[in-house]
């Protein structure tokens, strides 16, 4: 048991170390691409807590991503906030939104939960269009020049530098992975899995399952919002498109593909999806068809996602 835990920890740290080492040999393009993937991987990590560990399928997580995106971007755009304060503000607003929406949506279960989260998300999406005078709507807003750098601890951070963006994103991803890893291996993780496997029994054992789910929802929404804030601030653009259902489905696919209920699965899924589209688009105009075929094959041969299936087949110690 102790050995398994050690191996597992080494693997997770090893993956992060690998991402760090890659920064020295990657070409410019792949460095930029992996930066984006890592941001989306944080989004998927957050989604996975709710879907993979608690068993709640949300179809509306784009609203949390967009919440972070706008909560960070709008103060920068209109009030001239500095990047770090805008990021922290976005984290707080995302947590608050997740609490509010969770408190309502978690009164439902199963398909109803999916529909309610989808509806909330559509409301959020249409709100970004409705208030387009403020949000820039579908056209979006380009963040001003002053938001392309900031000072922290006496250091000037230049967000136009690809290396800087890479290391910032890797730092945030590492923090997210290690926090999630610790939680899923500790009390919260066991509570989440208990709810996923048998909520009624968990309740009969004296646990407040609503509170457990709400906590998971808040963590999930906050991580997703953090990813949105990171995306907006790093790439200097915020727009309604990030609140659309496509982004809710994308994050679900990342998680399913990599392996729901594994910490590294959503990260792997994000990489596979992103590079699969990128790879096929270089060879055929029917790249979405090719991607779809590969996805079907992956689901057939890896029904629990890549890491989920590997864990089941070879009894790996993946958390």
């Amino acid at each position: 048991m102790e050995n398994s835990r050690k191996s597992s920890l080494v693997l997770h740290i090893g993956v992060l170390a690998l991402l760090f080492l890659l920064s020295f040999i990657l070409s410019d393009y792949h460095q930029l691409t992996i930066t984006r993937i890592m941001v989306l991987a944080i989004f998927a990590l957050g989604y996975n807590i709710l879907f993979g560990y608690v068993g709640l399928l949300s179809l509306g997580h784009a609203m949390f991503f967009a919440c972070g995106l706008y909560a960070a971007g709008l103060p920068v755009y209109y009030l001239g906030w500095e990047v770090p304060s805008a990021f922290l503000f976005a984290i707080v607003i995302s947590a608050f939104s997740a609490t509010l929406i969770g408190a309502i949506a978690l009164r439902t279960q199963g398909v109803a939960f999916m529909i309610v989260t989808l509806m909330f998300s559509q409301v959020a999406y249409l709100a970004t269009l409705y208030f387009s005078d403020i949000t820039g709507g579908d056209e979006g807003l380009v963040l001003p020049e002053h938001a392309r750098s900031f000072a922290i601890l006496g250091m000037q951070v230049d967000l136009t530098s690809p290396q800087t963006r890479y290391y910032i994103t890797l730092g945030l991803l590492s923090a997210s992975v290690l926090i999630v890893y610790r939680w899923v291996n500790g009390g919260p993780g066991r509570e989440w899995v208990a709810v996923r496997e048998n909520e009624l029994r968990t309740r009969m054992l004296g646990y407040n399952t609503f509170l457990i789910k709400l906590k998971a929802m808040v963590i999930s929404g906050t991580l997703s919002g953090g990813a949105g804030a990171t995306y907006g601030l790093l790439f200097a653009y915020i727009g309604s498109t990030f609140a659309s259902i496509q982004y809710s489905i994308d994050v679900l696919l990342f998680t399913l593909l990599g392996g729901a209920g594994t910490v590294l699965g959503p990260i792997l899924g994000s990489f596979i999806m992103f590079y699969m589209i990128d790879f096929f688009s270089g060879y055929t105009t029917a790249y979405l068809l090719a991607t779809g075929v590969v996805l079907i094959l992956l689901i057939v041969y890896f029904p629990l996602g890549v890491l989920g299936t590997l864990r089941k087949k070879w009894r790996l110690w993946l958390p």
Partner: protein, 434 residues
């Protein structure tokens, strides 16, 4: 004796896996780190133009034609010796009509394909989502978008729209004719996003300057697939219904508009051709459009006074006299927009030749050379008509047409002048650092 020739032992399997991993590692290294594989750019490389194409998503009907026109233009330029004696290579990437993917495509052009410029984007949200990356990567970005965003000054010095007039200018030039010939009490139906907001904002101002008034504004969300519920909001006293819509729902929109009006008295109808771009006017249920008017940048149906430049352009891009593909008469072109791809490529060529462009190190000179251009005379390279180019706002201004539907065809009844569409610039990109 036990002999199992095809069965691998665990040790063999591990060896094979190691070999496989090694081979994969080498392949990945080559793919991901060109520097390690000794890949260097040759000095005689072609001029690479990265085309950000709406091959999928809501812009796909335009993208199909943008691609054909760009390919035809590059072919012609190469047949005539290329740019500065070097061939032009078109590198096409689909952006899915999505701003996130658009920004990724710009990064791919700048850092993987190493294109000299990026080009060809239509939808405004993709342009706006991509432009920060183009600016930071210092990649000249020539869009064919029509939106006011370039001229507004909200983007950066690396973004140009030299081949197609923006919406604000189009509207300003047409409003006087609408007020004089169709009516002054207007109801507007427009898409509830950026492109529609340009219409909302600038048409209401332009018509007010003509003594007219917008009675009702009816925004339609871009996700809408049925439009019936919007038509009852048209006030009875409306004299002109002004409609503009884009995306896959346009045909449904126009058909439902016809069903709504039926045989009853209806206001005069003025539409942007965007509502029916790439759609056949002979489509059943569009008969009610007879006698209505449309804006066109470039007449889809060849007119009696067709210029030889229009004739040549149609021939080169494979479009017949009815604006359809020569190989399939049901495949209607995006004629009022796609000429922008043709003209913009010739403008890139002109600017590159002006500054003696030799490679990415001359990109800043290319920006300044483009800004120094002042206009383009009607010619084979500019078949839509003469244009004035304002280097401060990176925007061109050209003529526009108002056409009337007669026998399921569009007949030009009015052509504006360039001066009709000029407005006071509100920005100056040349003051921005390169």
């Amino acid at each position: 004796m036990s002999y199992t020739p095809d069965k691998m032992t665990d040790k063999d399997k591990r060896k094979s896996l190691r070999k496989l991993a090694g081979a994969a590692g080498i392949a990945m290294t080559a793919q991901f780190s060109p520097a390690l594989t000794g890949h260097v750019l040759g000095s005689d490389r072609p001029i690479k133009v990265g085309m950000q194409l709406h091959r999928t998503g809501i812009g796909a009907s335009y993208g199909r034609w943008y691609e054909r026109v760009a390919v035809a233009t590059v072919k012609l330029i190469n047949e005539e010796g290329g740019i500065n004696g070097r061939p032009v290579e078109l590198v096409i990437e689909d952006d899915g009509t999505d701003p996130r993917r658009g920004a990724e495509v710009i990064e791919k052009f700048a850092t993987q394909h190493k294109t000299d410029v990026a080009y060809g984007t239509l939808f405004s949200h993709v342009v706006i989502g991509s432009s920060p990356r183009a600016g930071e990567l210092k990649l000249p970005y020539y869009v064919v978008s029509e939106g006011y965003h370039v001229a507004s000054g909200s983007l950066n010095r690396y973004v140009f729209q030299p081949g197609i007039t923006d919406v604000r200018s189009q509207i300003a030039s047409m409003a006087p004719w609408i007020a004089t010939n169709l009516g002054k009490k207007i109801t507007m139906i427009f898409p509830d996003y950026a492109f529609g907001h340009d219409h909302r904002n600038y048409f209401s101002i332009a018509i007010a300057e003509q003594g007219g008034k917008v009675l009702e504004m009816i925004p339609v969300p871009p996700t809408e697939s049925s439009f019936t519920r919007y038509f009852p909001r048209i006030p009875r006293e409306t004299e002109v219904l002004y409609h503009v819509l884009v995306g896959p729902g346009v045909l449904t929109f126009v058909k439902e508009m016809g069903q709504f009006f039926g045989t009853r008295d209806r206001p005069r109808i003025f539409g942007y051709i965007d509502s029916l771009e790439a759609v056949d006017f002979a489509t059943p249920q569009l008969e009610f459009l007879q006698g209505t008017h449309f804006w066109e940048a470039f007449p889809r149906y060849a007119q009696p006074d067709q210029t030889r430049h229009d004739q040549y352009f149609r021939h080169q891009v494979g479009v017949d006299q009815n604006g359809a593909s020569v190989s399939d008469s049901r495949d209607i072109s995006a004629y009022s927009h796609m000429f922008g791809c043709w003209e913009t490529l010739f403008i890139i060529k002109q600017a590159m030749e002006t500054c003696g462009y030799s490679g990415p190190e001359d990109r800043q000179a290319l920006i300044e050379a483009t800004e120094s251009l002042t206009g383009f005379a009607e010619s084979r390279n500019h078949p839509q008509g003469s244009k004035v180019f304002n280097g401060k706002i990176h925007q061109c201004f050209g003529i526009q047409h108002i056409s009337r539907v007669e026998d399921s065809r569009l007949k030009v009844v009015h052509t504006t002048s360039i001066e009709d569409g000029l407005y006071e610039p509100e920005a100056d990109y040349t003051q921005m650092a390169l």
